[in-house]
Symmetry: C2
Subunit: 326 residues, 2 copies
């Protein structure tokens, strides 16, 4: 059953057209022996590489505001998955898309695919399978890539004394979200960070052999660094004054900013650790990759993550983690 | 963001427990270098093998009746995906699971995972990632396997003169569904075929090098053989009297049975083609695999699939393809 399978063809009226619309626009990498149109895709993993696989779903009203443009939803659905591959230091290659739609709407679908394939093209990712079903709007993506065997960046490699780094700027997406929820006008540059996150694929690749551990920032720095620390059996200290911020965020007082920067989700930057003696190499690698990165803290004995202000006082965010809207 | 990621840990209350419940029960194959608990899984594809990837989603009320037991939903969500791998002649290895649930319900989840992992264990498949989100019940699975490079069974290899085969029996699931929809009592053996389909993995493996083309029967024989013919650029003729049936189905008159056998979906048997001179080898291979299989027609020039009765008259099903309930 499973109607309107990208692979299996379609039984439900209208959905076949949707699949044809998608398949017609997909660009195939040379390592795709068979893409959309059969029971499954056939792919070649290069010798010496491990396969890297991640799956993340976006639901309307939970993972993006209801007014989000279809192209932005398409972009973001792939971006959150490529971000996971980036955090492993993997090179993205292929993906599958399971799309649940309330009704077949070619215009919506065209917009969605515009955004999805724009990001796919940027990272040379081929859409190789999936399905469309009737139901509440939901987008389940599985992203596949590969990494030099034994060299992936993992969460469990942080060691006491390592420095904690983050790429890009933090808190922009959370600032956009909070402004929207309070009915305030949203600075376009902030809204863009919420709607079109940049998976840090180049940074992840550049950090192979340099970073001791890595995670992507989806739930917020404190929460995600906490996951990394838990897997590594260590603790961490963060200096709030060091957290990178965009020009748009610099307008806010730190009392307003810090919860977004330290606790807000949806940034899709990388947080990673590296020994202090590698700091210069790390900085050079990030520069070469064209991705900003700064040190924001260090790995310590113990467990959990402590944030400190410029005076060294422990700071607690007004609420734990990242609450979803809707 | 993407809360309660199997990999990323959790932010929404209650969902972390769900993930822990799943992860604690997962058995890992030796070729899983890293499973649930990091940003992505790390897997080893054996040298000389192509990666085979398929993704299918089940939605409540569309792909299974609302009264389906959680364990049966879990089984079926994986089965429909393994069936696609079977149709390629692939050996299943890993899967990801994106589970959308209206509310965190540990008892429902335990049952679901019982069924999912029971089938996974039967085929030595490791669950290596995914996520849980809040939303209407929906289960998106991506299944991964591998096949000897260049030897996969595809839809596009059927040649004029080939014989058309099917495994198992046809129409049982459609019979169960129609009985349910009309409020009649459902024979348990038929309901079991609807709820717990058997992916024909062993048959697919056995047919490597013997079948010229293959597809799994999800939408119904006429529809799916039609997909195979379209990809191969040929037509097909089916003899209705040859279609295999279960003992439970034999109670029905052929006017009642044929629409289920030829047009009903959800059987998850394999339909494949092979040259007549290979018939004996095919039969032996299926016998060795322990899977029944019979010849039901032949590939002809032209396009489309014609079904004929015992007198050779063309038969048209009362409605095209397979209509979903709900």
């Amino acid at each position: 059953m499973v109607p309107a399978d990208l692979a299996n063809g379609a039984s439900a009226p209208g959905e076949f057209d949707l699949i044809a619309r998608i398949a017609a626009r997909v660009a195939l990498r040379a390592d795709v022996a068979l893409g959309i149109g059969d029971d499954a895709a056939l792919l070649a993993v290069p010798p010496g590489m491990q396969l890297v696989v991640t799956a993340d779903t976006l639901n309307a009203g939970v993972h993006f505001p209801d007014d989000t443009a279809p192209a932005d939803i398409g972009w973001k659905a792939l971006a959150v998955n490529l971000s996971d591959l980036a955090a492993m230091g993997a090179r993205p290659a292929w993906c599958t898309l399971s799309l649940s739609l309330p009704q077949p709407d070619p215009r919506w679908l065209d917009g969605f695919i515009d955004g999805f394939l724009a990001l796919a093209a940027r990272h040379d990712v081929s859409l190789v399978g999936g399905d469309t079903t009737r139901g509440p709007l939901s987008i389940a993506v599985t992203a596949l890539g590969h990494v030099e065997a034994g060299h992936a960046l993992r969460r469990d490699g942080a060691r006491i004394g390592d420095e904690v780094w983050v790429t890009g700027t933090l808190g922009d997406a959370a600032a956009a979200l909070q402004s929207m929820c309070s009915g305030a006008a949203v600075e376009p540059s902030l809204r863009a960070r919420l709607d079109r996150p940049t998976p840090r694929v180049e940074a992840g690749r550049a950090l192979l052999g340099l970073a001791s551990a890595c995670i992507d920032l989806s739930d917020g720095l404190l929460a995600d660094l906490g996951h990394l620390c838990a897997r590594s059996g260590v603790g961490a200290e963060i200096e709030l004054a060091q957290l990178p911020m965009s020009r748009a965020l610099a307008r806010f007082k730190h009392e307003v900013r810090w919860p977004w920067q330290a606790g807000g989700g949806d940034d899709y930057e990388l947080c990673f650790t590296a020994p202090p003696q590698r700091a210069e190499q790390v900085q050079q690698a990030l520069d070469l990759a064209g991705v900003p990165g700064v040190r924001v803290g260090r790995i310590v004995a113990g467990q959990g993550v402590q944030a400190r202000d410029a005076q060294g006082a422990v700071w607690t965010p007004p609420r734990a983690g990242y609450a979803h809207f809707g």
